[in-house]
Symmetry: C2
């Protein structure tokens, strides 16, 4: 068979895998947004069947043989070679995990989730401890099956952020800690002095329907294409759906925290713009998809934080916001921007954290996961380790496990190694923003209400690139350097020194 | 392996097939209710992939071998034996259709649908003729692959109504024509005399939101379980979803035809009650599912026509309806019931037809399909044959093909042999209703606003039976006789003679 024929066979098989993944995306969206509550058991069956079919097809010897033969051909173009590389990686992982382990993993995560919900409700880590221990053991087995030659936690991180390792994260996170811990201490000292702008208007009540109208208009202003996506309400906000033409974001509304839903919508729109901006000429193939979870988070955080907490973006929209929310008439534009960036030092919860403290919540979890998988930390000692690090990094101690080590869903779903993506995203976002500013006048165009120049830069350098290049190469091509914490550190130091008059 | 082990393997495989079918149900619902319009191409890919996986798994040699071995075991109980029978039928059909034909069929139906939409818009049969010819040829090949020893049209009918044949339908439809054609002639003559109740209130405008409220309250009153289902708005009403715990019905609203959406909701609720009433102890297996399309239609039509166009059902609800729709204050209860059963003799469109003329629309289509597949009718001669039969059975001639032979979607989707199910449903419904009346006092309980006695009888004799028995046996166990047109003929003759004072 010619290379062209082999490659056509490959793309047909990969299209099928994509279609199954997209279908799982629809089942998930449906479950969270519209599914009748009595269907939860049936939905579990449907998802398990599709996940089984996906694993079966992804790990098939036929696909493996095809990838092997194509890997030996010298006449593939760059795109096709990248596509084979991505598909091979997926196949190799799937093929190495025994069917029995896949099934055990699926059933244990369902069980662990239920146990976690109850344990969190009771703020009782002891209830969660046994099943968490089992999850960690099973994750170790999984990692050993995928690559027995590497540390388990490196293998797990690699599932979300290809090529990332503990060695590298240790360095990255040490740099961030060195900047953030003293910076937060200075903010804390400054707050103790008083005299900062009042931000109590952040708790002014706004009816959900009004929040929805304003939020939707911002989502539209950011360039979200409603012909290829939806905006709905859910308990936990997410960006899901089924591929570049069906991108579905959700938000939730709390009457006394209008900024939460607004920034949440901007965050999910950042994810959505990445998905909607994929290169359609690359088809429904692995090469077209988002590079990694870290890069995905870079797109949401770039819009939510770098853009959506900046003065330029809000300047043209603020009069409209003031017209919609009467209490803002008494809030100056500068005070509004200060409120957008309010540092909340008493907060225990990662998802509610501000830009400055968020990375420390992540680093804490990273260090705990790392030590759990190296054996340096026993599952039983987790709560004590958690609380000690909270005191060390943020100066506060959680009163119970619900506000401490039971707060996140990730461990109950077996997503060990996911947390670093959030902060890698913040670091990448600062790199992208710095590079974009060199190419286009971001401040002036955002200030004129025009997101297209910035969006166009992201489309060209990130969205349309998909998975054509490894992450470091993608970032280096876009910004001139691979992963680099300097822009993020400079950005937070400058911004918070200015806002808090340090 | 023991019979128990073999059977456990079978049910696991059949669960997977059910899960794929249910997932296709969700993809379809999503497409019609919430999908962004730009996702239509991607959705086509997703559905094609899932349909391919379903066919692959359903036709697999492993499943075939398992069914063969189980078929030879003497120690299966009745339920398991019925389950093996149903699964074997599905497997045998799937296994006999070559993969290439499955793919050709899928792509031709997509193409034919687009051509049909345009042809209907232009009222130009000539545009549709070539692709319809191809569809008929391919359907013949399909039928020959499934069973070369039987007439093609019998094989096609059998897909929707197991065991039904032209020989039998010819007899059934001859009996119906013999009753309906002269009955309609008498109604027509009576209408020419005038003096019948005024029914112009049927066109009184009602806002869609009010129609929705009233409709939903009726759906609830009929026993639809909203914890295991939904009610939404769509262009074409349907009952879909994903199995007994996720039953989704839809309706549409026309301001000047409130009865259309109301009776539509009652119709779809009839389908839904059948699905929600399946026997959960039979699991997600073929033996638990609805017996046939004809039996499914019997449930929708029993509620829409036999119940929903009767005085007893409306007596307790009419004051509430009058309170909701002010113009009904001037309409007596008897006139309201007359309006529910209005015969509209000038109507060309099947989906808008009343109870009396509907079967003739179906019989016309049946005879045309039968003659197309026997070769007695050429595709090119279809419009002339259609119009001649319209004149013969209903006394009216369509002015163009859009109001004639291009009106239905079925042929463009290759659903040859489906139409008879509608009228078989009406016939079965009359049988079930007659039998239910013998067991419970339907008039008195409906008249007291209590649907449970009737619903309970249907649950026990139809819904919970699923596919345990062949259709004739199901009907005979419930009513004492297999398919029998006498109850339907007696019912329409009595009712319309009374209402029209013939």
């Amino acid at each position: 068979m010619t290379t062209g024929e082999l490659y056509a066979d490959l793309t047909r098989r990969l299209s099928d895998l994509t279609a199954i993944e997209e279908t799982l995306g629809i089942l998930q969206w449906d479950q969270e947004i519209v599914m009748p509550k009595g269907a939860v058991h049936a939905r579990g069956r449907q998802k398990a069947t599709l996940a089984g079919l996906l694993h079966q097809n992804q790990s098939s010897a036929a696909l493996g043989g095809l990838l092997q033969r194509l890997g030996e051909r010298g006449d593939l173009d760059d795109i096709a070679r990248a596509n084979v590389r991505e598909a091979h990686r997926d196949h190799a992982r799937a093929a190495r995990i025994p069917e029995a382990l896949v099934r055990r993993w699926a059933s244990l995560t369902v069980q662990a989730h239920d146990v976690w919900v109850e344990a969190r409700k009771a703020a009782a880590f002891g209830q969660f401890e046994p099943v968490l221990g089992e999850m960690v053991d099973l994750a170790k087995q999984r990692a050993a099956a995928i690559d027995p030659g590497r540390p388990a936690y490196d293998v797990l991180i690699d599932e979300f952020e290809v090529g990332m390792t503990m060695a590298r994260l240790d360095g990255v996170f040490a740099e961030l800690k060195a900047t953030l811990v003293p910076l937060i201490a200075r903010v804390r000292a400054r707050m103790a002095q008083g005299g900062l702008p009042d931000a109590s208007w952040l708790r002014s009540p706004v009816p959900a329907e009004r929040q929805r109208e304003v939020g939707e208009s911002m989502v539209r202003a950011m360039g979200f294409d409603f012909d290829r996506g939806r905006l709905d309400t859910s308990v936990h906000p997410f960006c899901g759906g089924a591929g570049t033409d069906d991108v579905r974001i959700t938000t939730r509304y709390k009457e006394t925290a209008f900024l939460g839903s607004l920034s949440g919508m901007i965050h999910e729109t950042g994810h959505a713009l990445y998905e909607q901006g994929r290169d359609r000429t690359l088809g429904d193939q692995p090469v077209s998809r988002a590079r990694s979870m870290g890069i995905h988070e870079s797109q949401s955080l770039l819009w939510e934080k770098q853009v959506g907490q900046g003065a330029a973006f809000w300047r043209p929209h603020y009069p409209r916001l003031q017209a919609a929310y009467a209490f803002l008439a008494a809030v100056s534009f500068d005070d509004f921007v200060f409120g957008l960036n309010l540092v909340q030092l008493g907060n225990f919860i990662r998802v509610d954290a501000d830009e400055l403290t968020y990375p420390l919540h992540v680093i804490l979890r990273y260090e705990i996961e790392r030590d759990l998988f190296s054996g340096a930390l026993a599952v039983a000692d987790l709560p004590a380790a958690w609380n000690a690090k909270m005191v060390q990094y943020l100066g506060i101690e959680p009163p119970d496990a619900a506000l401490g080590c039971l707060q996140d869903v990730h461990w109950s779903s077996g997503s060990f190694g996911y947390f670093p993506s959030y902060t890698l995203g913040a670091v990448y976002a600062a790199q992208f923003m710095q590079a974009a500013r060199k190419a286009v006048d971001v401040e002036a165009t955002l200030g004129a209400g025009d997101v297209q120049p910035l969006l166009g830069w992201l489309r060209e350098h990130v969205h349309r690139m998909g998975s054509r290049f490894p992450t470091d190469e993608l970032v280096a091509r876009a910004t001139g350097r691979p992963l680099d914490t300097a822009p993020f550190r400079a950005y937070v130091t400058e911004k918070y020194s200015r806002l808090y008059r340090l």
